[in-house]
Point group: C3
Chain length 277, copies 3
C-alpha cells in the first residue's frame, strides 16, 4: 500500500466538492492569512477561540486546528475544550505546536493536548523533535532544522497521533497507511519564498484540517495539504517579484490549482520507516 499523486488529486477534488468547514483556533499573526488560504483552496473557516463556544463548535466542524502561536490563559482553555470535544466527537483535529521546546508554558500546554490524540501533528523540524521529547520519549530536543532529522521524532509521535509532518525544504510525513503499516512520504518542490511570508506554515496546518475532513485516510489528507501548498507556491514564485507579490500570487494559485495539475506537478516519493515500539 502506498500513496500516489492520483490520490492527492482525488483529495483535491473532494475538497472542492465538499467545502469542509474548518474550526480554527490560531494566533493573531496568522488568523487573516490562514482564513484566506482556506477560502482560496476551497474550504471554509470559522475562528472560535473562546472556551464558552469552542467545544460545541468542534463537535460539528469538519476539522479543527489548534495552533499554539500566541496563546493566553483564555485561548489555552479554548484549545483544551476544542481538542477534548473533537476527540470525543470523532472530529479530526490538527495540533500545530508553534514554538514548543523553546518556551516552557506552551510546551506544558502541548503535552497536555496530546492526551486528546490529535489526528495530525504538523510543525517544523525543531518543533516536532521538541514535542516528541515532551510526549515521554527520551530523545530530547535537537535544534536541527532539517526535516529528515525529525523523522524518528515524528514516528515516535505516532503514539499520540495518526499522522505527523515536519515542514521544510522537503516536507517529511509519516503515518499509518491503509494496511496499518507505517509509511513515510516526502513532498518536495515548493518555494524558498514561503518562509519569507508569515503564516504560510500556520495556514498549512489549517489546510491539513480541511483535507482530513474529506480525504480517504489521514495520511492522504496530510499529503494532499502539503502538496497543494508546494505546487501552488512554485507557481506563485514564478509570477512574483518579492514576498508581497508572492503572497498575492500564492492565494491566486491555491485557488486556481486543479487536480490534474496537482497530480502532474507534485514531487512525491515514499520511504520506509521502522515503527517505534
Amino acid at each position: 500500500m502506498t500513496i500516489t499523486s492520483a490520490d492527492l488529486g482525488t483529495a483535491l477534488d473532494a475538497l472542492r466538492t465538499r467545502v469542509p468547514l474548518v474550526h480554527s483556533l490560531t494566533n493573531i499573526v496568522s488568523a487573516n492569512f490562514l482564513t484566506n488560504v482556506l477560502l482560496a483552496a476551497g474550504a471554509s473557516n470559522a475562528h472560535i477561540d473562546n472556551a464558552h463556544e469552542a467545544g460545541d463548535f468542534a463537535r460539528i466542524a469538519g476539522g479543527v486546528l489548534v495552533n499554539l502561536g500566541t496563546p493566553d490563559d483564555g485561548t489555552a482553555a479554548a484549545f483544551t475544550a476544542a481538542a477534548e470535544a473533537a476527540h470525543d466527537a470523532g472530529t479530526p483535529w490538527v495540533l500545530d505546536p508553534v514554538g514548543v521546546g523553546g518556551l516552557a508554558w506552551r510546551s506544558g500546554l502541548a503535552a497536555d493536548l496530546l492526551k486528546f490524540r490529535p489526528t495530525a501533528i504538523r510543525g517544523n523540524a525543531s518543533e516536532v523533535i521538541a514535542l516528541a521529547g515532551l510526549g515521554g520519549d527520551t530523545r530530547g530536543v535537537d535544534s536541527s532544522d532539517d526535516p529528515a532529522a525529525a523523522v524518528p521524532a515524528a514516528v515516535s509521535l505516532l503514539q499520540h497521533a495518526e499522522v505527523v509532518s515536519a515542514s521544510g525544504p522537503v516536507d517529511h510525513l509519516v503515518g499509518r497507511d491503509a494496511d496499518g503499516g507505517v509509511l513515510g512520504v516526502r513532498i518536495g518542490g515548493g518555494s524558498a519564498m514561503l518562509p519569507r511570508v508569515t503564516s504560510t506554515g500556520c495556514s498549512l496546518g489549517a489546510l491539513v484540517a480541511a483535507y482530513l475532513a474529506v480525504a480517504k485516510t489521514p495520511l492522504v489528507g496530510l499529503a494532499a495539504a502539503h502538496a497543494h501548498v508546494a505546487v501552488a507556491s512554485e507557481i506563485a514564485e514564478a509570477g512574483s517579484s518579492g514576498p508581497g507579490s508572492f503572497a498575492v500570487a500564492y492565494l491566486d494559485a491555491l485557488y486556481a490549482l486543479d487536480a490534474a495539475t496537482l497530480a502532474d506537478r507534485v514531487v512525491l516519493d515514499t520511504f520506509e520507516v521502522a515503527e517505534i515500539r
Copy 2:
C-alpha cells in the same frame, strides 16, 4: 420619499471631505483588512477593544462598530461598554452579529447588546433571521441564506435599530426613511469573489459605521456603504485573477471610486415593506 443613486454619491463625497473616525471592536481575523478598507474608502479607524477605554472612546468617535466575530470575556465587556456609551452619547453604532444563532454564548451577548439600540444591524441572512428570533420575535431561526428571505426578520429588528441589512448576492436593506415610513432598498451588482476573501463582510460593517457618521439619514448611510462595496468589488473583479489579486484590487478600487462613478454604476432599487406592529 425614496433613496436615489445621487444620494449615495453625496454620501461618498461627505465621507471623503469629513474623514470620519470609526471606533472598531472587531475580531482577530478581520482587524487588519477592515482597517485597510476604511483607510482606502476614505475614513480613519481606531481599534480599542478593552473595557478600560472602549466607553470613553465611543463617546468621541464618529461611529462605532461592534463585531461579534471572536469574542472573549474581556472584549465582551468592552463591547457592552462601547455600545452603552455610544447609545448615551448619541454616537451612531453598528452591530455585526457574526455567528449568532449557531453559537449560544454570543447569541446571549447579542441579545443583551440590542438594549443599547444599535443604529444599524448588518449581517448575512441567517444572522439577521437568528438575531430577530433572539430579540423577542417568534419567527425563530431559519437556515436560509437568501437575503430576500431575511426581510421580515430585518423589519422585525427595526424595533431595536434604525436600519438593518442582510448581505448576499443582492443586499436587502430596510429602515425608516426621512418621512418616518419604512423603506426597503436592494443593492445588486457586487462580485462573487467577495465571499472568497475573508473579512469583506466585517469590513462592510465598519464602512457602515463610517457612513453613518456623515450621511443625511441612517438609511442613506447604510445604502452608501453597501453601494461603495458593490461597485468597488465589481471593478476589482474585472482586474484580478483570483482571490489574492482581487483583495488587492478591491482596496485600490475602494480608494479610487468617486461619487459620479458610484452613482452611475450602482444597481439600486427600492421596495415597499409592511412594518411590524
Copy 3:
C-alpha cells in the same frame, strides 16, 4: 560626530547578514503586516504576548517591540514582563506609545513602562508630545501633528530612552551620538500612501527593534529603520495604483532594497538640538 548615508547602508548589510530575531508584542491590527515587514526587510520575528513567556523570551531576543495598540489586562502584564526582562538582560527594546495622550488607561501603562528605560521610543508627533508630558515633563500635550514640533518633547524623553523619533512627512529623530552629545536627524522622502495602509507605523517600530540589534549605535539603528521605510515606500509608490497595490509593492521593495540604493536615495540631514537639563 554625525550620521552619514553610508552608516545606514552598513546597518542594512548587517541586518541581512545577521537576521536578528525580534520579539514583538503588538496589536491585532498590525501583527500580520508587521511580521511580513520584518521578514521582507531581512529580520525574523516571534510574537509572544502572554505574561508566562514574554519575560523569558525578551532575554534571548535580538530586540523587543512593545506596541500599545490594542492592550488588555493580559497583554499589559506581558508588556511589563518583556520590558523589565529586556532592561535587565540588556536586550534593546522599543516602546511604540500608540494612542497615548487621548486614552487614559494606556497612558498610565506607558508611563510605567518608561521605568524600564526603552532603548528607543517611536511614535507620531502627538504621541511623542503626550508621552513627554506623562514622563514628568511639564510641557503638556500638544495636538500638533508636525514632527518638527515634537522635537523638544523628543529631547525631553531622552531622560528615559537612548533615542526617540517622531514619524511624519519628514521624520525627526534625536539621540545621543557616539560622542555623547545629542544629535538630531531628519529623514525625508517616503510616500503619502504610507498613512493609507494600516500598520506601516507599527511595523516601522518593529523594524527599529531589528536594527537596534545590529547597528553600531542606537541612533544609527533608528535612522536606518526610518530610511529603509522611506526609500522602500518611495519605490513602492512609483509601482502602484492605490493602497492595496502599494502595500504589496512596499513589501517587495523592502525585500529588494540594497545598501547602495539605500545610501544613494535616502534624504538625510542632521540638526543641532539643545539637550534638556
